[in-house]
């Protein structure tokens, strides 16, 4: 059994009633200028700011690819571009040793019918949303592929009011997650000798509005 100086045989020595004082607040008790609750609230608010910044950046970013390409591309029309150079680079980190055909689609009025030729492996046809997401891709195969399909507003773009309908049996319909976006056909260059042939194949890319 331990014995303290204050207690001998369980009897308190010289015990006096302690005055009851109001408990001081944390900041005042330590005398600090900074309230720990402010720090905690700041960290929680930082978490909210973090989430808000990350989720709003795709919509608020000043120059996503679509915005960069808009001045170069009329809506719903195919445009072929020469191989990128430092002076004429459609967007950052573009693969330079390739020729490109683009269509900027705007589905607010009509759907868009796209036709293209993918003659060999390495060629790709890709569809991108307004935020740059690649929501559909078709790579070139060993055998030449002629493709035609229709881009229509998808479920995420139901705000336009009318739901997309099926077209004739020959038309594959691809739903787009946003009303605006980009169709990109990328044709890697195999060398100067193949350039004219590549350009001719790429020029067969077409985009035309299709009535809904």
């Amino acid at each position: 059994m331990t014995v303290t100086l204050d207690k001998i045989d369980g009897v308190e020595q010289g015990a006096r009633p302690a005055p009851v004082l109001p408990r001081p607040k944390a900041a005042k008790r330590s005398g600090a200028l900074i309230d720990w609750r402010v720090l905690l609230a700041g960290v929680i608010a930082a978490g909210l700011v973090h989430i808000a910044v990350v989720f709003t950046t795709p919509r608020t970013s000043p120059a996503p690819a679509l915005v960069r390409l808009k001045p170069l591309l009329p809506a719903n029309k195919a445009v072929t571009m020469p191989a990128p150079t430092p002076a004429k680079q459609p967007f950052p980190f573009v693969m330079p040793e390739a020729l490109y055909a683009f269509c900027r689609f705007d589905l607010s009025v009509d759907n868009l019918r796209v036709s293209a030729v993918l003659p060999e492996p390495g060629w790709t046809l890709s569809l991108h949303s307004a935020f740059g997401d690649n929501f559909y891709i078709m790579p070139g195969q060993q055998k030449r592929t002629d493709i035609t399909f229709v881009i229509a507003p998808g479920i995420a773009s139901a705000e336009i009011g009318s739901s997309p309908r099926r077209f004739g049996s020959g038309d594959v319909q691809i739903p787009a997650p946003t009303l605006e976006g980009i169709v990109m056909v990328r044709a890697p260059l195999k060398g100067l000798a193949y350039r004219a042939e590549t350009e001719a194949m790429l020029a067969r890319t077409s985009c035309t509005p299709a009535k809904r």
Binding site: A27, L33, I34, D35, V38, L39, A41, G42, V43, A45, A46, G47, L48, V49, H50, A52, V53, V54, F55, T57, P58, R59, S61, A63, P64, A65, R68, P84, T85, P86, Q89, F91, P92, F93, V94, M95, P96, E97, A98, P121, G122, T124, S126, F131, G132, D133, N134, F135, I137, P139, G140, Q141, Q142, I182, M184, R186, P188, L189, K190, G191
Partner: protein, 192 residues
């Protein structure tokens, strides 16, 4: 009053600075959530995909890129050599590419903001078709300011550069996955 003001300023600094700072770091740099690192090469694992994580989506939008989905092709970005030194156009680098024979690949040099590096030779990239191969099928690409024999990729200007290696995930444009091979080293040969 002074205490209230101080605490308000502190709150704003923590909320704004920490919140935006961590968001910016996650959107621009590597993190375990969105990226994988293979030596000097950095891969954004879900780049371009519709089910991409929010950091990858924000990364694309901030940079203004238009990448193909990472399920089709993988982009590896390097801003250091294999020893960890920053890639600059005042140095010379050798990259021995030994990837699957039938899969498409491309290698290009950019500025840190993704602009092509101007050069008099007007050469900005090599791909699996245009690169000259060794007898064993490998391709040695040399990045240097001045002309070099073989696959010379000019990097002029004396600034920091990025290298992007794009590799198709399937061979011959089909669905057969390419045999995984280790990514090439970026060997610094010397500096001015």
């Amino acid at each position: 009053m002074r205490r209230l003001l101080l605490n308000l300023v502190l709150f704003a600094l923590i909320a704004g600075g920490l919140g935006y700072g961590t968001a910016w770091t996650m959107m621009e740099h590597d993190s375990r959530v969105s990226t994988r690192r293979f030596g000097p090469w950095l891969e954004w694992t879900s780049l371009g995909r519709t089910d991409a994580d929010p950091y990858a989506r924000a990364h694309i939008a901030r940079r203004g890129m238009l990448p193909l989905a990472s399920s089709y092709e993988t982009r590896y970005l390097a801003n250091t050599d294999s020893t960890g030194g920053a890639l600059t156009s005042s140095c010379e680098y050798a990259i021995m590419i030994d990837l699957a024979q039938n899969s498409f690949w491309s290698i290009a040099a950019y500025s840190s903001k993704g602009a092509l590096v101007p050069n008099a030779a007007e050469r900005y990239a090599f791909n699996s078709w245009t690169a000259m191969r060794e007898t064993d099928g490998k391709a040695l690409v040399t990045l240097a300011r001045d002309a070099r024999p073989g696959n010379w990729l000019p990097i002029g200007g004396g600034s920091q550069i990025n290298i992007v290696l794009t590799v198709a995930n399937a061979v011959d444009g089909g669905t057969t996955p390419a045999q995984p091979k280790p990514l090439p080293e970026i060997a610094r040969q010397g500096c001015r």
